[in-house]
């Protein structure tokens, strides 16, 4: 009897000793980076912003204004006009007139020049736009500086080139514009999404009424100013901040010919119901729950970088985020250990600090949603792994998090969390990986990691997702179409495919 007890105690002691002496890496204070904040002065904030209608900033007929804040400090940045039904109507009238009298009749090469000029102005104001984006949305300055702004201007440059070549994009067709496009964009990439929407619409000869997200209107309004500076004819671009109600006015306006929406699947369904039978064209880019599949023959250190980029980029506020990790059982322990170490080095904090990797959650509401789903993951029995990084006292922050021991039937493996939270699941065979990856109502993106070329082709072709990355993740280019399968939406943005949504063919 006693020998068994002794033996057990001995084993426990040995295990503890092993744990104590196990080699580990310390990422501490040996050489601290000094704070390196980008100056807020670049942002040039106004106290109050109007609606951008007919080439001018105007006071809202709704007489309503709302405050927009910095989610990293909870400070009010500005007051922004909220567009009501009458304002939407004015904007549509301005856009319709601009389309009828000028924009659709302009020589395509001339249209191209305007789009090109917008691109150049974004480029010139890169720093201002990046700082503004980080202040209003909470994303790290390194991302707004290196990803959001460069990609936004690339979209304008790319589409400027198409303006006078549309007949080559659609051979054997006569190409004409549609009319007024109503565009509703989300808060995760405010300027970039505005660019994705406006650039192709304008290049194809349409005019737009764009509603930025409620929490992040400032860069869209800066873009409105850029349109003014570019001498864009009044009414070609109209920007109407507001919340869901404003969006509904846009969607339901009878003289809008096309709706482009990027946002949640829930709202996408409402929009599709509202536009059904109206003759309005519709493209939807909705939610996702992408599988990032790591095979045992993958380059593991780079795969871990891809996992981190896939889920912690922009605090996980990415519709195509790699929020489900499917890792082959034979390398699961190794990958999880590597991921744990890597997450410990992520620097969370002031979005304006150039060394920040993970910034602030976009809004209090979103933070609460993330907290709720993480609590649910714990309750459902998954193992929580969380960075022990310090969380700033003010602002909306959430530490980089991942769950292991997750099954397909956990809520955290099914629902889009839209935050820095990853669900790690394992698989045994390629077939199982494909089945699990596709076993979700969404289908926006997927990632496949293997050093074996033939496997890349085999697996990627089986993914029911609009974008599939191989040995990388979250890569975007204006020439590459982006969009979803299943409940992730329909229609493509970018590339020749993206133009299709903004032209009438005969």
């Amino acid at each position: 009897m006693s020998t068994i007890v002794e033996e057990k105690a001995g084993r426990k002691e040995a295990a503890e000793k092993f744990e104590r002496e196990r080699p580990r890496l310390e990422f501490g204070a040996a050489w601290e980076y000094a704070p390196a904040p980008e100056s807020k002065d670049h942002a040039r904030l106004q106290k109050r912003y109007g609606l951008f209608i007919g080439g001018k900033f105007v006071a809202p007929k709704s007489k309503k204004y709302f405050e927009t804040i910095n989610p990293a400090t909870e400070e009010v940045l500005a007051e922004v006009a909220e567009a009501g039904a009458a304002d939407v109507d004015s904007a549509v009238t301005a856009a319709e007139e601009a389309h009828r009298k000028l924009w659709s009749r302009l020589k395509p090469a001339e249209r191209g020049k305007y789009v090109y000029r917008i691109a150049r102005l974004i480029q010139e104001k890169s720093r201002e736009l990046a700082v503004l984006e980080s202040m209003n949305g909470g994303k790290p300055i390194k991302e707004s500086r290196d990803v959001d702004v460069p990609l936004a201007l690339a979209h304008f440059f790319y589409h400027a080139g198409w303006a006078d070549k549309l007949e080559y994009a659609f051979p054997r067709h006569t190409v004409s514009s549609i009319g007024v496009c109503g565009q509703i964009i989300p808060w995760n990439f405010p300027l970039l999404m505005a660019a994705w929407k406006i650039a192709p619409a304008l290049a194809c000869g349409n005019t737009v009424v764009l509603k930025p997200a409620e929490t992040t209107p400032l860069t869209a309004l800066a873009l409105a100013k850029i349109c003014q500076e570019a001498d864009l004819p009044p009414g070609v671009v109209n920007i109407l901040p507001g919340a869901g109600e404003t969006g509904a006015h846009v969607v339901n306006h009878p003289r809008i010919r096309k709706i482009a929406f990027t946002g949640s699947t829930e709202v996408g369904k409402i929009i599709q119901r509202s536009t059904a039978g109206t003759g309005k064209r519709l493209t939807l880019e909705l939610g996702g729950k992408a599988a990032n599949i790591i095979f045992e023959d993958a380059p593991l250190d780079q795969a871990v970088e891809g996992i981190v980029n896939g889920i912690y980029f922009n605090q996980g506020h990415v519709c195509c985020a790699g929020s489900r990790l499917l890792v082959q059982e034979s390398v699961a322990d190794t990958v999880v250990a590597k991921l744990e170490r890597r997450v410990a080095t992520l620097r969370l904090g002031d979005p304006l600090d150039k060394n920040t990797d993970v910034g602030a959650i976009n809004s209090k509401m979103q933070l609460e949603k993330i907290r709720e789903l993480v609590a649910c993951g714990v309750e459902e029995g998954a193992d929580l792994h969380q960075s022990s990084c310090a969380i700033p006292a003010k602002g909306y922050f959430f530490p980089p998090t991942f769950f292991t021991g997750v099954a397909q039937s956990h809520r955290i493996a099914r629902e889009e969390i839209f935050g820095p939270v990853l669900a790690v699941m394992t698989f045994r065979t390629p077939e199982e990986a494909v089945e699990k990856a596709n076993n979700i109502p969404y289908g926006l993106s997927a990632g496949v990691w293997t050093d074996k070329g033939s496997k890349i082709f085999k697996i990627t072709s089986k993914m029911k997702a609009g974008v599939v990355w191989a040995n990388t993740f979250n890569k975007f280019d204006p020439s590459s179409p982006f969009g979803g399968y299943k409940e992730s939406g329909f229609g493509r943005e970018g590339g020749v495919h993206g133009l299709r949504a903004y032209v009438e063919l005969s």
Binding site: E21, P23, R24, L25, E26, F27, G28, A29, A30, W31, E32, Y33, A34, P35, A36, K142, D146, D297, A298, P299, L300, D301, Q302, A303, E305, G306, T345, K354, N355, D451, N471, T472
Partner: protein, 304 residues
């Protein structure tokens, strides 16, 4: 005999490296903004990690003595600037460096084993290393036989490292992979593990005679190999990038790679060195600028 056990080397078990991914990660770490106190601390740390090197056919006693003075007092009149880690010379100049550096704490490193090609018979390599140590070298920078490695003769490469390690006795052994000739990151990763398993105290990128040399991505691949080797065996292997490191910006970038890959324990000259001949003055110029707010004329810094 060496006290460190030789570990098995299984080429098939070495992790693969994706070129695009590793270069992207190396570039992203180069964007860390190192300012103010962090910059000063980083520069002082970098100076203390330099292996001040001269490896020319025209090296003479006079040249080496002058270099040793610079090594001990990089910024005359400012004792707060640390001395460099070591002076690295050809074997014939080891006694000169040893004498000039006596009592300073600066180590003497010598290249050996038929540097830089390594294409001489093993007994010559062993003798080369043994004599350099006998003449006073504290550290030996050996080269691997890249021809044998690329031909897949890992056993030859491994046994040569083992034999040289043995010849080094108490002296530290740095194994130069000459990554510019291995070409692929997969090879760099494989050669790193091979060298560590065979008993290297340090692994080093390059001889300085071949370009490309210590690119950030190559350094990152080697640091990741060191990290995994440590986690598997508990043995801390040192890292020495060498070749083409000329600016403070490059040096700080490499330190960032170390900090964020291996962590605090490696931020010491005992485990990280920078092989360089002209880096010191740029570090000093940046250090003085951080303190005074102005850039000095290059003639304010001594060229030895």
């Amino acid at each position: 005999m060496s006290t460190v056990p030789v570990l098995p080397f299984e080429p098939a078990s070495i992790p693969r490296v994706d070129q695009v991914g590793v270069e992207e990660r190396a570039v992203s770490l180069g964007k860390r903004s190192i300012k103010k106190e962090a910059k000063k601390t980083g520069i002082r740390l970098a100076i203390s990690m330099i292996d001040l090197t001269t490896l020319e056919g025209k090296d003479s006693e006079g040249k080496v003595r002058q270099l040793c003075q610079k090594a001990m007092r990089p910024l005359p009149g400012d004792p707060s600037v640390p001395h460099v880690a070591a002076v690295c010379v050809y074997p014939n100049l080891v006694p000169v460096a040893k004498d000039a550096l006596a009592g300073s704490g600066v180590k003497v490193a010598s290249v050996a084993t038929g540097f830089p090609a390594g294409l001489v018979p093993l007994p010559v390599k062993i003798e080369d290393a043994r004599r350099a140590v006998a003449m006073g070298a504290d550290e030996i920078d050996m080269v691997i036989d890249r021809g044998a490695f690329l031909a897949g003769d890992y056993a030859k490469v491994s046994s040569e490292i083992l034999a040289v390690k043995d010849a080094c006795g108490e002296a530290h052994l740095k194994v130069i992979l000459e990554t510019g000739e291995l070409e692929t990151y997969d090879n760099v990763r494989k050669a790193s593990h091979l060298a560590m398993a065979a008993g290297a105290d340090f692994i080093k990128t390059s001889t300085g005679k071949v370009t490309p040399a210590a690119t950030p991505a190559v350094v990152l691949v080697m640091l990741e190999a060191i990290r995994d080797f440590y986690l598997d065996t508990g043995r801390r292997i040192g890292m020495k990038p060498a070749g083409g490191i000329k600016t403070s910006k490059q040096a700080l970038h490499l330190l960032v790679l170390v900090k964020e890959t291996l962590g605090d324990a490696w931020l010491t000259p005992d485990l990280f060195r920078l092989g360089a001949s002209t880096l010191t003055n740029d570090l000093l110029m940046q250090l003085v600028k951080e303190t005074s707010g102005r850039y000095q004329n290059e003639d304010y810094f001594t060229k030895d």
